[in-house]
């Protein structure tokens, strides 16, 4: 038994007040902001023997994004039992004493695949349109959820409808300022444009997942979305922010027009509109798509810095720099009508 298995079993035994065994602990390649492990939890209690497949989400020394585990815990709890599929939570521990870092334990949603490069291959490939229907319909459900009704208005910081854009632009520009290792003329031009041409106030204040993309969904082999994961960037804001991030060009896993590797942009938007009950203002969405480009670029550049400075050895962080940064710049140029297609690549 490894050290982490032992420490987790010891913690769970203390937490539940009876013997708990941890078996088959295995790190899985999902989630860029937490170390994620799958394990089997066996509880021996009198005549009752139970075995449950669980997930451990452990704060890492470095990550793509600095996030708040309590936000993730609250958001998952708020949506549990709704038509937004989320895992069942077991516990949150913020004291690093037990495992060396804070962590969350939740039920594993069995039978789901999240890796985009697997989803574009059989058996998932044949059902990607169905998956797309589910994906943007669920995102619409998140957008129409009343934050007060699900209790998240008491957890997530409030924001006025007219301030949503300013808050997000400031957040990601600040990260770019702090972490860029080389000048970013395309993003700087986009930032100036966004400041000169702000979007209208949000139609409503919604729960924004913050990282709603194919890699954060669990998909069954029949194409159904059976889990929405990685809620640590959840906040209150303009629901167009999530829609724009979900259709970001860098998530075109099949290197074509299908967003998230699933559906053309217009179809994805139409499904979201029907589900959310909100109408999309094309100019406002374009602004939020540009914000999504800036947000992506800030995240990729921040990850690049972690790798460059030796803070991490995770090749995912280097890939963020080499695979995403240039694509994100090209996506920005496309949205601004400045991508010259005549230039060979």
């Amino acid at each position: 038994m490894g050290r982490l298995e032992e420490a987790l079993a010891s913690y769970l035994t203390r937490h539940f007040g009876h013997a708990v065994r941890v078996e088959s602990l295995d790190r899985i390649p999902v989630g860029a902001s937490r170390e994620t492990y799958r394990f089997v939890m066996r509880a021996d209690r009198e005549a009752e023997l139970t075995a449950r497949r669980m997930i451990l989400r452990l704060d890492p020394p470095t990550s793509l994004i600095e996030t708040d585990r309590r936000t993730e815990y609250a958001a998952i709890r708020a949506f549990h039992g709704s038509d937004v599929p989320v895992p069942e939570l077991l516990l949150i521990e913020e004291d690093p004493e037990a495992l060396g870092a804070s962590f969350i334990v939740m039920q594993e949603i069995v039978g789901g695949e999240a890796a985009p490069y697997r989803l574009i291959e059989p058996p998932y490939r044949a059902n990607l349109e169905t998956t797309g229907q589910h994906k943007w319909s669920i995102l619409g459900s998140i957008a129409k959820t009343d934050p007060a009704a699900c209790g998240l208005d008491r957890v997530l910081p409030p924001v006025a409808a007219e301030d949503c854009w300013r808050q997000e632009l400031q957040r990601w520009e600040t990260m770019l300022d702090a972490d860029e290792l080389e000048p970013q003329p395309i993003q700087r031009a986009a930032i100036r444009w966004m400041k000169r041409n702000p979007p209208p106030p949000a139609q409503r204040i919604s729960v924004v997942h913050g990282d709603y993309r194919t890699g954060n969904l669990l998909v069954s082999d029949t194409g159904a979305v059976i889990g929405v994961l990685d809620w640590e960037m959840a906040h209150l804001g303009d629901p167009l922010e999530d829609l724009a991030w979900s259709i970001n060009r860098v998530w075109c896993f099949r290197k074509d027009e299908r967003r998230g590797g699933m559906l053309p942009k217009d179809e994805a938007i139409a499904i979201w509109e029907k589900s959310s009950g909100l109408a999309v203002d094309a100019d406002a969405l374009r602004w939020w798509e540009l914000l999504a480009c800036l947000k992506g670029q800030a995240i990729w550049i921040s990850a690049t810095k972690e790798y460059q400075t030796g803070a991490t050895h995770d090749p995912l962080m280097a890939l963020a720099g080499w695979m995403q940064v240039n694509s994100q710049d090209r996506a920005t140029l496309e949205l601004m009508g400045r991508l010259s297609h005549g230039i060979s690549t």
């Binding site: 295995d26 790190r27 899985i28 390649p29 080389e182 000048p183 003329p185 395309i186 700087r188 031009a189 100036r192 060009r249 860098v250 998530w251 075109c252 896993f253 290197k255 995770d314 090749p315 995912l316 280097a318 890939l319 080499w322 695979m323 995403q324 240039n326 694509s327 710049d329 090209r330 996506a331 140029l333 601004m336 400045r338 991508l339 010259s340 230039i343 060979s344 690549t345």
Partner: protein, 148 residues
């Protein structure tokens, strides 16, 4: 230097994908090996073009600065356009080219922001050329592992 560096990288990518990744015990380790293969593929592409694309980009920016000298009226910016525009690479080592590239790109950001505030057809034409150079720079930097 033989075998060619490109041949070495090709073999490294193949070995990581076909020999090493499938034999690793966990999905996490397999994923890490496949990511290293992708990075090696990208490094192979960058190795051959590294100096060429930097030289081309630096020269393109210097041409923009030269053109801007007849449009920009702000003395301080005009002086720096002329000074930085004369900056030449003292070596074709990639690190030396990068140092010049960063200086030029910093000034290009400043020039672009300034030109946006100017009226007139000349300013609009220069602005369009700056955007064209941005697009060209992403074409030069594109890697096969990129999704767009």
């Amino acid at each position: 230097m033989k075998p060619d560096v490109s041949v070495y990288f090709r073999e490294l990518v193949r070995a990581l994908r076909e020999d090493f990744a499938p034999k690793l015990p966990t999905a996490f380790e397999q994923g890490a090996a496949l990511r290293l293969a992708m990075l090696s593929q990208a490094a192979s592409e960058e190795f051959d073009r590294a100096a060429a694309r930097r030289l081309e980009e630096n020269e393109a920016m210097r041409r923009l600065f030269e053109r801007a000298s007849s449009i920009v009226k702000t003395p301080d910016l005009l002086t720096r356009l002329q000074t930085v525009g004369c900056l030449r690479e003292d070596s074709i080592h990639v690190s030396a080219l990068d140092r010049v590239n960063q200086t030029l790109r910093d000034l290009l950001i400043e020039l672009h922001a300034h030109v946006e505030t100017l009226a007139g057809d000349d300013a609009r034409a220069l602005e369009a050329d700056i955007w064209f150079e941005f697009s060209a720079s992403t074409a030069r930097r594109a890697l096969s592992i990129g999704r767009f």
